[in-house]
């Protein structure tokens, strides 16, 4: 195999059996006279792909398009029915973090266990142990049983072990949005580091913003067939044109209640944050330059004077893009009961990508924070006008030409 190809997928077919009624008892098997009846369903059909060594490769497609199946075939968890997959070098898959942790054992014991499941020897783990624990940020808890860990700690340790296996090829399935902001930033740094070292990374993700910023090549799967291969920007543009995917809620699903940190004394609470499009419909996906309204629903449990609402927007890699508050615009003499405040902008200046919204309500002098919610909402910005822009935001203005002056 040429050394510039990390993963070669040749004519891969994968068939699943959809059991009408599962035959998991002998009685059922005997009554039907043999194996269970099932329908066949081709999850992958004649997939050919070459993933270049050192690339960060994204598999995109709608739910059920076969991208996760393909990733599992690459990880050797599933075996293709036809065709073959050759992988050059050591593979580590981030499909589920902390799979195989034993709740009664300590973090330390689980690190060794998990690492050996992923193929590391004890000596290799010894050498990396401090890195693993340090990366997960669990120095103080490493000797307590993992059943006492919060879900965030659990996932962080799992991620840390998997990424420190030092794989030549790293397969990642929707686990990029894990842990708090600091940890996410460290993960992104780690991905960048692996990339610099020439490792190959294959990502399955619905977070198109992440794919766009992180990956340098992508394949688009539809109904188990490769529809197109190319640069992520080009592919995502035509993918969005064609499918208008719904924003998939990765924040809550992946990290549970740890989605966003929240603090405040609670006299007024921001119950939820919504994003509305031009026609006032709730959405999580807008285009660059669209008219957008952020709506903060509040519940003032106690009567408070002169409340100030704040709205922060962060890019997924942690860059604070914007922070705006209502102090100069509206004066709420007193607040009691429920209601909402809106922040509207006629032209959203954010570049394509994924963003998190932080919402807060505090006192006029900013001495009392009543409620502060990190990552209260996550949304995607898709390309709009202008099509070509770089940087953090796009300035809305006009070019004019004055030749010969």
């Amino acid at each position: 195999m040429a050394s510039d190809v990390a993963i070669r997928v040749e004519g891969v077919h994968k068939r699943f059996r959809l059991y009408a009624e599962r035959n998991q008892s002998l009685k059922a098997a005997m009554m039907r006279g043999g194996r269970a009846r099932y329908e066949e369903f081709w999850a992958l059909r004649d997939v050919d792909l070459e993933i270049p060594t050192g690339s960060t490769y994204a598999l995109i497609g709608e739910n059920g398009s076969g991208k996760s199946t393909l990733l599992k075939c690459m990880a050797r968890i599933l075996r293709p029915d036809r065709g073959r997959i050759t992988v050059a070098g050591k593979v580590s898959a981030l499909l589920e973090l902390g799979a195989g942790f034993h709740p009664e054992l300590s973090g330390r014991e689980n690190v060794y266990l998990n690492a050996s499941i992923l193929g590391l020897s004890k000596k290799q783990v010894d050498a990396r142990f401090d890195d693993i624990v340090g990366f997960a940020g669990l120095d103080h808890f490493i000797d307590s049983p993992v059943k006492n860990y919060s879900s965030g700690m659990y996932v962080r340790l799992g991620f840390s072990v998997a990424i420190n296996v030092d794989p030549d090829v790293l397969l990642v399935d929707e686990v990029l949005a894990v842990g708090d902001e600091t940890f996410q930033r460290r993960c992104n740094e780690k991905f960048a580091e692996l990339k610099d070292q020439g490792r190959t990374i294959v990502v399955v993700s619905h977070a198109l913003g992440v794919v766009r910023t992180m990956c340098d090549r992508a394949a688009w799967l539809e109904h188990g067939v490769v529809k197109d291969v190319g640069s992520p920007a080009k592919l995502i543009d035509s993918y969005v044109e064609l499918t208008h995917p719904e924003r998939v809620e990765v924040v809550d699903e992946a990290t549970g209640e740890e989605a966003g940190t929240r603090w405040g004394s609670g006299e007024v609470q921001v119950d939820r944050v919504e994003m509305l499009d031009r026609r006032g419909r709730r959405t999580r996906q807008v285009r660059m330059g669209d008219e957008v309204t952020f709506r903060l629903h509040y519940d003032a449990r106690e009567k408070v004077p002169k409340a100030v609402f704040g709205l922060g927007i962060h890019r997924l890699d942690g860059v604070h893009v914007s922070g705006i508050n209502s102090r100069e615009s509206i004066t709420l003499r007193s607040l009691k009961g429920t209601g909402h405040v809106d922040f509207s902008t006629e032209r959203l200046p954010l570049l394509p990508g994924t963003y998190d919204v932080t919402a807060a309500v505090h006192s006029w002098d900013n001495l009392q924070t009543w409620d502060h919610r990190n990552k209260a909402l996550r949304f995607d910005v898709e390309p709009g006008r202008p099509r070509e822009a770089e940087g953090v935001v796009v300035l809305h203005g006009e070019w004019t030409a004055h030749p010969g002056s």
């Binding site: 059996r17 799979a99 195989g100 266990l113 020897s121």
Partner: protein, 275 residues
């Protein structure tokens, strides 16, 4: 065979999984490891009370050791039996109870079955050590025979792993197998000379046959008979086991291992999606 090289590369994983089983098992109990000794001892005490004290069953005299003590006669069959029974029950569930692992990580799945059996082998080894001390106290110098006991344990491990490999993977397709096994193990227990001596069966079975096959031939088809008789010969009687018994259990054990391996390989590819 790539699977063989793969398996030898995952020796360390095997060791880690065995230690996970062992540590996890007694982690939160006060008596901890002692439980693996208390269980067989309690069972032995119970059987001794019922069969020896109440029903008046007598242990045969060890030949040539001259030892005559019901609990020791019982234990050198009961401990290997517990190994078989626990090893099979444990390994049959090893794939289904680690479904999450199988579906999310690639590693040779055989190690799940093997680690489950080996964790019980560790228990057996400790129990056999304590039992040997018991024999020494009772005046049986079992020390010269211990290497052969170890060999028997290795053979029995091959037997249990073989059965475990086949049944665990079949159990993924038909979950009834695990329930069926519980009943089958009870039958098997009484079909093996554990709470009664083999001589008793020989006495009653003289001249009887089933469909032309002598009862004793059928009885000896059960490999546990050969195993138990061999363990007893070594520890209780202090003599070399019957060569026929040894040859039979060796063939059956290796056969079971090969057959189990074959069945496992056959069903393993679709494991992650069937679980």
């Amino acid at each position: 065979m790539t699977t063989v090289t793969e398996l030898s590369a995952s020796r360390e994983l095997l060791a880690n999984l065995v230690s996970r089983e062992l540590r996890g098992k007694y982690k939160r109990s006060t008596l901890g490891w002692a439980w693996s000794l208390i269980n067989p001892l309690a069972l032995a005490a119970m059987f001794t009370l019922v069969f020896s004290v109440i029903l008046g069953a007598e242990a045969p005299e060890g030949d040539p050791s001259g030892l005559k003590f019901f609990p020791l006669h019982l234990l050198c069959a009961l401990l290997p039996w517990a190994y078989l029974s626990n090893g099979m029950t444990g390994s049959i569930a090893s794939l289904t109870s680690n479904a999450n692992l199988v579906k999310k990580v690639y590693f040779p799945r055989e190690v799940l079955v093997a680690s489950s059996v080996l964790s019980f082998l560790v228990t057996l080894a400790i129990e056999m050590l304590v039992l040997s001390v018991g024999f020494l106290v009772a005046g049986n110098n079992v020390l010269p025979w211990l290497p052969l006991v170890v060999l028997l344990m290795v053979l029995q491990t091959a037997f249990v792993v073989g059965l475990g490999l086949a049944l665990s993977v079949l159990n993924v397709y038909f979950r009834d197998i695990a329930h069926f096994l519980t009943i089958f193990l009870q039958l098997w227990f009484y079909a093996s000379p554990i709470i009664y001596p083999l001589a008793l069966v020989e006495q009653k079975a003289v001249g009887r046959d089933v469909l032309g096959v002598p009862v004793m031939t059928l009885y000896h088809a059960n490999p546990m008979v050969g195993f138990i008789q061999s363990y007893r010969a070594l520890l209780y009687d202090l003599r070399f086991p019957d060569l026929g018994d040894l040859a039979y259990v060796s063939v059956v054990s290796l056969g079971a291992l090969v057959a189990g391996w074959y069945v496992f390989q056959r069903f393993e590819p679709r494991l992650a999606e069937e679980l």
